[in-house]
């Protein structure tokens, strides 16, 4: 057991650093620093640069376009990209449907979709939740009825992140109404330009348009776009939920977040001293850092420990719970740190409003981010559902 990087790892770390320094788009960096709302092209800019380098899907098997990196190299890569504040790649293609397709898909599905996910040609969204099916996902009611070689899909999905940009969506639909809940579900890939699909925005607390309602009315979907067997979609869904341990905890990004909060607390004054010298605030930062260290080493034990290569397991629920709690505490501390200037509200740029927002730059997004990040303990299986998973799968209760 050791936490040393080998000379090869150190060389790799240097290579990643140099690559980011030389290739990260200046314009995107500027927008991030200003806290501007990002457009589709912004999200894709870094994706496409990494794709060209062959680094866009480190976790994928080499045969499908992965990098073949060791767990240590993957760890280094995620550390370095977070340290440099690189934008997070959209997970829906790369981390979610991609692994489902290369694990369960037909040769045709693999050949068509995987290269387009890698290149960023297709933007994906996830059609899981419904108005009546949140934590109880398996109670979903969107139906797919066979019609010749197609299905006819009807229903409503909600909380569909970034569906406004999506070319494709992966959907859980009911193909057998009489079967036990989990046993009548299928996993469909649906072209978002299909007739009958309507995407309506849902505006969240911070004023962002991230999530949507997706309505499906008599949408015709070829059966060849079903992944895995009919009525076996739940298998894909479960696989997807537990997949991609790397990054689920968000350790590297949270480390960067701690540094940002510290920088704010060094600037903000509390009496005649920087806020960071306030004993109570300092204690909260220290406790957060320590908890983050515990999360980091829990993730490292799971990545580079005895179970390496065994595939993700229910311990990823622990990483999700603790990781999301820490993300929320970070945004809360940031909002607390900026004081009065958490209050002024800006819709963002690009609406003909060139006026610079009021207050220090670091304060502009503090409140919207705090409000927005309440989502992390709710999405991807709420933290209460994650506890149910651990209770059942790990503790055997």
């Amino acid at each position: 057991m050791d936490m040393e990087f080998s000379p090869e790892d150190l060389a790799f770390q240097q290579e990643v650093r140099s690559f980011i320094a030389e290739n990260y788009p200046e314009e995107l960096r500027g927008k991030q620093d200003e806290g501007e709302e990002l457009a589709k092209e912004d999200f894709l800019a870094w994706h496409k640069i990494l794709y060209k380098k062959g680094w866009v899907a480190p976790a994928w098997p080499v045969e499908y376009g992965g990098t073949g990196w060791t767990p240590t190299q993957r760890f280094i890569f995620s550390e370095e990209t977070a340290r440099a504040d690189c934008i997070r790649l959209m997970p829906f293609g790369l981390a979610m449907v991609g692994p489902v397709i290369y694990t369960f898909g037909t040769p045709e599905q693999k050949a068509y979709f995987l290269p387009r996910i890698l290149s960023g040609e297709d933007w994906w969204c996830q059609g899981y939740s419904e108005p009546g099916a949140g934590s109880d996902l398996a109670s979903l009611r969107t139906t797919a009825v066979p019609d010749g070689d197609d299905y006819i899909v009807n229903g409503q999905k909600t909380w569909t992140t970034m569906a406004q940009h999506a070319d494709w969506g992966f959907f859980l639909v009911r193909t057998d109404k009489d079967a036990k809940q989990q046993e009548g579900i299928s996993f469909l890939l649906i072209d978002m330009k299909s007739p009958g699909i309507t995407v309506r925005p849902i505006i969240t607390l911070g004023g962002e348009h991230e999530v949507n309602e997706v309505w499906l009315e008599d949408v015709r979907v070829p059966q060849s776009q079903r992944v895995y067997d009919e009525n076996k979609g739940w298998t894909c869904a479960k696989f997807l939920l537990a997949h991609e341990r790397t990054g689920i905890a968000g350790v590297a990004a949270s480390k960067r977040g701690v540094e940002k909060v510290k920088a704010i607390a060094r600037t903000e004054l509390d009496g005649d001293k920087p806020l960071i010298q306030n004993a109570f605030f300092k204690r909260k930062i220290a406790e957060l850092e320590i908890d983050l260290t515990a999360l980091e080493f829990t993730e490292l034990r799971s990545l580079a420990g005895p179970n390496t290569g065994r595939g993700p397991g229910p311990e990823s629920s622990l990483l999700k719970i603790k990781g999301s709690e820490i993300q929320q505490r970070l945004t809360e501390l940031t909002l607390e740190a900026v004081g009065h200037y958490g209050a002024p509200y800006f819709r963002g740029f690009g609406e003909g409003d060139n006026e610079h927002p009021i207050g220090p730059d670091y304060a502009h997004r503090a409140a919207p981010t705090y409000f927005n990040v309440r989502k992390t303990t709710i999405y991807g299986g709420s933290n209460e559902i994650q506890r149910n998973i651990i209770a059942k799968m790990v503790l055997g209760l």
């Binding site: 204690r283 260290t293 080493f297 490292l300 390496t308 603790k322």
Partner: protein, 379 residues
């Protein structure tokens, strides 16, 4: 980067677990901690001579297995699982650690004796006024000819009633809280002028108040430089602190497992109480604390070799997290057991007692939080 154990390390763990499984069940332990001696000396002898366990963390030239802090952590975790009261911590981790650090003739003399099980060392460092400050010392060692004369009072010296030797911190110069002027001595426990008042501790061990009444000690009892001992003491106490974190991990694991088991047997409202979601989620929270304690123990252990300030920050982070976790897991184990948890009858309450003492051992969560802050946020 690698977070796996070697085959030898797995073997050490398995061998020790098997041995303790045979010799250290709860009832047997309760019997020998209630005896006059307060322990079963045959176990220490067996650990040394039959299992070679006391040599796991020492170099091969001294007759050990060539291990170090990781081996200490493995052994401490296994001892934690059985509420072991064996003086492994003061003898091997602390005295052994100090001897490894100073090397030379003293190491050559004592380490083989420790490995053979002939020497038990108690660590006499705490003083009634000193709280967790290792430099806050009234005990003095005054130069007298070639040797020293030791005077003062050391409190709550675990394992002292069993010790053949004492590892003593004392002031050779400077004011009561100065960093300079602190020295470390390894002395015979039975020298004239050493007065002990022995007593049991709440967590099943034995300890003593020790009064040094002008005890003459030889020059070669000094470990390291005279008046320059604090850095060495801080280092071995950090090593001991992560070892205690490892023990805590074992204790917490058993508290958690015991709770899982009990809630599946205990029925209320006609069903096992483990079926209640409120208890399931609490047991998940306990599980997460156990896992994080394990992670922090690994983190602290792997960072022991870093430069002093980084090492101290890492150890304090570990101890803070483990102390908070031990508190949470211990209290919730008792709460979940209900009335039976606060009796002497089940092992669970005894694990709770040890977990509670570990919280404060070598510094409470607050003490370590403050040390962490001073090192990482002290601007």
């Amino acid at each position: 980067m690698d977070f796996t154990y070697t085959e030898t390390q797995d073997m050490i763990r398995d061998t020790l677990a098997r041995f303790l499984g045979d010799t250290y069940d709860f009832e047997t332990r309760q019997k020998f901690i209630a005896s006059d001696e307060g322990r079963d000396p045959a176990i220490w002898t067996a650990l040394a001579q039959d299992l070679g366990m006391l040599g796991a963390a020492f170099s091969e030239e001294h007759g050990g297995l060539g291990g170090g802090a990781l081996e200490n952590a493995i052994i401490m975790e296994e001892l934690g699982k059985v509420l072991g009261i064996e003086p492994y911590l003061p003898t091997v981790v602390i005295a052994g650690g100090a001897l490894k650090a100073v090397g030379g003739a003293q190491a050559d003399k004592f380490i083989p004796e420790i490995i053979a099980g002939n020497v038990i060392v108690a660590f006499a460092y705490a003083e009634p006024q000193g709280r967790y400050d290792l430099a806050n010392l009234r005990t003095s060692a005054k130069k007298d000819g070639e040797g020293y004369v030791l005077s003062g009072h050391k409190g709550v010296v675990y394992a002292a009633p069993w010790a053949t030797h004492l590892l003593v911190t004392a002031r050779t110069s400077g004011g009561q809280r100065d960093r300079d002027g602190v020295s470390l001595f390894l002395i015979d426990a039975n020298l004239p002028g050493i007065v002990r008042r022995d007593y049991p501790t709440v967590d099943g061990s034995r300890a003593s108040e020790i009064y040094f009444e002008n005890v003459a000690i030889p020059a070669d009892a000094l470990l390291g430089g005279e008046g320059e001992g604090l850095a060495l003491i801080e280092q071995v106490v950090d090593e001991a602190t992560v070892a205690v974190c490892a023990e805590a991990t074992g204790v917490m694991q058993k508290l958690h497992e015991g709770t899982l088991e009990y809630t599946q047997q205990r029925k209320q409202f006609g069903i096992p109480i483990a079926k209640f979601q409120v208890l399931q989620h609490r047991m998940v929270d306990m599980f997460m604390e156990v896992e994080q304690a394990r992670s922090m123990t690994v983190m602290g252990t792997l960072k022991l070799d870093l430069p002093a300030d980084e090492r101290k920050a890492a150890v304090s982070a570990a101890k803070n997290k483990v102390a908070r976790g031990a508190n949470f897991v211990g209290q919730n184990a008792i709460q979940t057991h209900g009335g039976i948890g606060i009796t002497q009858e089940l092992a669970i309450g005894h694990y709770f007692k040890r977990a509670t003492m570990i919280e404060g051992q070598f510094g409470s969560a607050d003490y370590h939080m403050e040390r962490y802050e001073a090192l990482t946020l002290g601007e």
